[in-house]
Subunit: 671 residues, 2 copies
């Protein structure tokens, strides 16, 4: 509420006025004039500047000659500097009658103060002083407005819960997850009697934010805080939350405050929050105080951001089960090769649930002052369901989940069905953090499976990676990672889209047949029940028509991906993969689904396809390796036939990768 404040002067009285530097006091001189007043005169001390409207006074100094008083004569008062002591500045208005006789005089004793509620509105990690743009939020490198993190990590190791669930600060390190805010004042040592500073938030915002205050020098409280917990809580008292929407704060030179975000953007929350500081003026004991000045700062809650395959891995996650030794060994080797951390979830924790991809999605939140990974826990809730909370949530590792209330969770809610593209540009529109990709039913289908609404709403509300919905309900398991992935590649886009392609598979098999390898066997070495020759595959008319259908489904998605990610056919590589249909005519991979790979920098961990051998070498691996090596990528084939493929998943389904954040900061996006 910078700007003008209507002030009343009272004839025959001396009024004490508290003025906030930067504002203008507007006095209607006629309102308080004694009856029959015809002229007036204003005098003031040097710290005060005034002007008259509509009759301007020449020069800034008070004019001694009386000026004519009109019906709407306005006096504007400003002061440039804070007062040293109370009432150190004065202004008087003298009213004159027809014959310049004095009819009355109104005197103002003015005290000027400076007040500002300050945040890091320019996003450089430092709280600047009274940024003129702090009350509005805009995107882009030239944008402004402060940033808030959801305090969704847990400083506590025992009895842990996201810090945002606690109404007190449990450790000094918790302050790092909050946005610093400073209340700065300048002026006399005390506010005039009865005046108050108060911080306040709206009811709507109160469920999404908390404000704490530091009551001592930071160094001291840091020391004490570690020593004795209850004392620490006292040193950082809660100022605002959903129970306390308004609270007085001390008038002192500098008050350090900490702002904690509680909710991610969602369907009903655009992520913007306002915090107000008001100066309250007492009227008299019986009347409510009036806010005479309000300063407002705005925060945007940082979105949850996903990391595409083109970002550098930090940590690889897999499950250890009774039967997955070859798989575990393959992944371990790949991780070690590049010195990526490997985290194995053991049987006592995974209880046989090996689908590490499906239970969770890694992302992160970022601000100028702090950033950390945040796991989005899937509503899937298999036997791995406690893993994200129990094993990942921790200090500087956040946790968020969305649980549907009245929808049944289905297979499309697993996060093998939630991926993200590398950065793309579509018809001139940039998506420098890529676009989220999910799988749903055909929009024309009345009975299809869909990803649950609360998760979809959450993903769309993050805004910075606008989602694309693909059609994945044609698959038995129904995950987009069964037919697509992205790999890093040379060229301006920096990646290729890999798509499973039955056509490419049939083409490869026909080529083998033409070259006299029709008797070569798929699933060679996996036993007579599994083995089947290239000729037999090509002779199977039913299988061909099933794959024609699958190719149509994938082509439909191909067209959507080309349009929504701005891709050319040259950006897409078809991988030779066949499918077969199960109950409900829904598809599963016929042999290990090579597109369902783990991407670790230039190293690809690919499900070993057990294709037909030509000269002792698997023709599918040879084709795959040839396609990938052309992009400078290395292929490692991991045997996941018994332990994953037969259970309808592959390498990607059974692993997860936490990656480095984007170098581009999300607030620099042009939205």
């Amino acid at each position: 509420m910078s700007g003008e404040r209507t002030l009343r002067v009272r004839c025959g009285q001396t009024s004490r006025v508290l003025y906030v530097v930067g504002t203008t006091l507007s006095v209607n001189l006629c309102r308080s004039a004694p009856p029959k007043s015809k002229a007036f005169n204003v005098q003031c001390t040097p710290n005060v500047r005034f002007s008259i409207s509509p009759t301007p006074v020449p020069g800034p100094s008070p004019s001694p000659a009386p000026l004519p008083l009109n019906n709407n004569t306005l006096l504007f008062i400003v002061m440039k500097e804070a007062s040293m002591v109370e009432s150190d500045s004065k202004l008087s208005v003298t009213y004159y009658g027809d014959n310049t006789e004095v009819l009355g005089k109104a005197v103002l004793h003015l005290t000027a103060i400076e007040v500002s509620l300050d945040v890091d509105a320019d996003r450089d990690g430092v709280v600047e002083k009274n940024n003129p743009h702090k009350g509005a939020w805009t995107w882009g490198p030239e944008g402004h407005g402060a940033i808030l993190l959801v305090n969704c990590d847990s400083e506590q190791f025992y009895h842990k819960t996201p810090d945002s669930d606690r109404k007190h600060i449990t450790a000094v390190s918790d302050l790092n997850d909050m946005s610093p805010m400073v209340l700065r004042t300048k002026g006399p040592a005390q506010l005039p009697p009865g005046y108050k500073l108060t911080l306040h938030i709206s009811r709507g915002d109160a469920e999404k934010v908390r404000v704490f205050r530091s009551t001592a020098g930071d160094m001291l409280s840091r020391f004490l805080g570690k020593v004795f917990f209850p004392d620490f809580v006292k040193r950082y008292p809660l100022v605002l939350d959903d129970q306390v929407l308004s609270q007085e704060v001390p008038y002192q030179e500098e008050t350090k405050l900490y702002v904690e975000g509680l909710r991610f953007p969602d369907k009903d929350f655009d992520g913007l929050l306002k915090i107000h500081l008001s100066l309250l003026e007492p009227i008299s004991e019986d009347f409510p105080e009036t806010p005479i000045y309000t300063d407002t700062v705005v925060f945007r809650v940082a979105p949850w951001i996903m990391t595409p395959n083109t970002l550098e891995p930090v940590e690889v996650f897999v499950c250890s089960t009774k039967d997955n030794y070859p798989f575990l060994k393959g992944i371990t080797g790949l991780a070690k090769k590049n010195n990526y951390k490997l985290k194995v979830c053991y049987e006592y924790k995974n209880r046989g649930d090996r689908w590490m991809q499906d239970e969770l999605e890694f992302g992160y939140i970022d601000s100028p002052h702090q950033h950390f990974p945040v796991v989005l826990d899937s509503p899937r809730d298999g036997d791995l369901k406690d893993f994200p909370y129990d094993e990942l949530l921790g200090k500087d590792f956040g946790y968020v989940t969305r649980v549907p209330e009245d929808e049944e969770v289905n297979s499309l809610d697993s996060f093998g069905n939630l991926e993200v593209s590398p950065p793309v540009t579509v018809n001139g529109k940039h998506y420098p953090l890529g676009r989220i990709i999910i799988g749903v039913a055909f929009p024309t289908s009345a009975h299809g499976r869909n990803m649950t609404k609360v998760v979809q709403d959450f993903l769309w509300a993050q805004k910075v990676q606008e989602p694309v919905a693909l059609f994945s309900d044609w698959l038995y398991v129904g995950h987009v990672d069964e037919f697509m992935t992205f790999v890093p590649a040379p060229g301006p886009k920096g990646f290729r889209l890999l798509l499973a392609s039955p056509d490419a598979g049939y083409k490869l098999f026909k080529g083998l047949q033409n070259d006299g390898h029709g008797k070569a066997k798929i699933f060679d070495g996996l036993g007579p029940d599994e083995e089947i020759s290239v000729d037999e595959i090509l002779d199977n008319e039913r299988l061909k028509s099933e794959n024609d259908y699958v190719q149509n489904c994938i082509d439909w998605n191909r067209d959507v991906l080309k349009r929504e990610l701005g891709l050319d056919d040259d950006d897409i590589i078809d991988l030779p993969i066949l499918f077969k249909l199960m109950e409900d005519n829904r598809a599963v991979a016929y042999y290990p689904d090579m597109v369902n790979m783990i991407v670790l920098g230039k190293e690809l961990g690919i499900p070993k396809p057990f294709g037909p051998k030509v000269d002792g070498r698997c023709a599918l691996e040879a084709e795959m390796t040839s396609l990938m090596e052309a992009l400078g990528l290395n292929c490692t084939y991991i045997d996941n036939f018994a332990s994953y493929h037969k259970l309808l998943g592959e390498v990607h389904c059974g692993s997860n990768v936490r990656r480095k954040p984007f170098e581009l900061r999300w607030w620099n996006l042009e939205m």
Copy 2:
């Protein structure tokens, strides 16, 4: 989904292809090439155009010499016109080996159709053909995108309910409230076997929209519809609603559809809705059909719009009670003077509740094809509570309400606390439909009364009259109409803001005292219990300090109004009105509150203030009349002392006015 569609050709086969004019078929020639193919050749009938990438063919006519086949050779196919009969166009691809021997040939039999889902995207009241902008919605005179009304009126007189509550069309006139939509096709008389056209909507949109279809020529069904109701329902079957998200529609030259809006924009609904038309391709009997072409149209639901005092009145509403004859007579005279319609709500209906302003707010909804008034029913629900539904809802008179679920309704929920400004411009930002004004508690107050959240959310969500929240909780009744109103006036802004002003009141009384009228009596003629002299008023220190507080409260609002409506002091007129404080230090008008007036064009119906008389004329009326006559307005003073003022309301509280809509259409706003 205009644009490219991936198409597969099969060597040795003839494929039937259904093509939609305006799209491009993209064929990866390598995918279907026989092994060892090195070159290819394309031939086609005249209606077909093709191009090759990356090797362009010179000229549009098929080249007879084989072209080299590369790994990513693409064939793009377009057709300019719809086919007359099925498969009337052909295209073949011949593959050659090393020595130009023919290895295989793929043949396409092409049928082209035109399909478009059409709406009034250019907002001229007519459904144009295939507007290229129909799938996106933008504001402004150059904007595009269709408009939908909430069908909140009631065609039925008996057993009435808003039409949007019924799942069928009850009268031909109901079609006028819906947005016309046309499905147009061109091509062979029938779609090839197995192909289908289907309309579909998303689950999220389905609760906000319904689509009906006309099954006969309009003239015929109009006649029949009136004759026999069940037959009528059959003639306009429901196509889409919240139970049917997708339904087949016939392939015929023109299908008339009617789109019905069900929900106003609100906190969780931005007002935009999409309707899709898809062409489904059969794969084979066992497989789900694949959408091969989708056309999308977008609608924005028209907002509910309020009408300021500067718009011309249409109808004046008042209650008749046992004790309000002078009031009723005054209002009736005013309405008759300008030939405005007068609607009196009689005692049997109002049950003694006289507060016509508080129970409801008149607004309207507008579209290029239809507009009608809509009453917003307050959650107040006094004894007048059935009036909006029972007496106003009707044919071309809509009804909407918002009822809080877990908040208690208080006096600030009455619609004397909901007003709207005339058009304003604020720092260059135009509000050509004005800004809504509501009253709430001070943001710094912990215990204040507020307008209920569901109503506030509704008002903000309408967007086109962005609300301003004032501080009205200082008033005992708590309504903004107790201290402010707008009147039409000459000058560029076209209005003045009138504010109650105790200062102006005291100034007037002091002037009277100075002129020797100190013994003149307020409430003169209302009996000795009421009468009080000017001297006594001015001697009452308590009353003065109460009015100082009130002036501070009004000045706070004055500053907000100046800032949020871009007003100067010259745009504001202070009216001489005193207040007194009741329990909780909340204020009521001391004498009839002249600002609480009814504005009917240039005629003002003002509560008769019963001020002190000078030379037989009320000094308050004289001042008021002088101020208003300077603006070209005529004042009529209406005695509402006993029947309204003593019950804490005045003329405005006891009346309501339905006004003409703005000439400016809301979709022409630049948002």
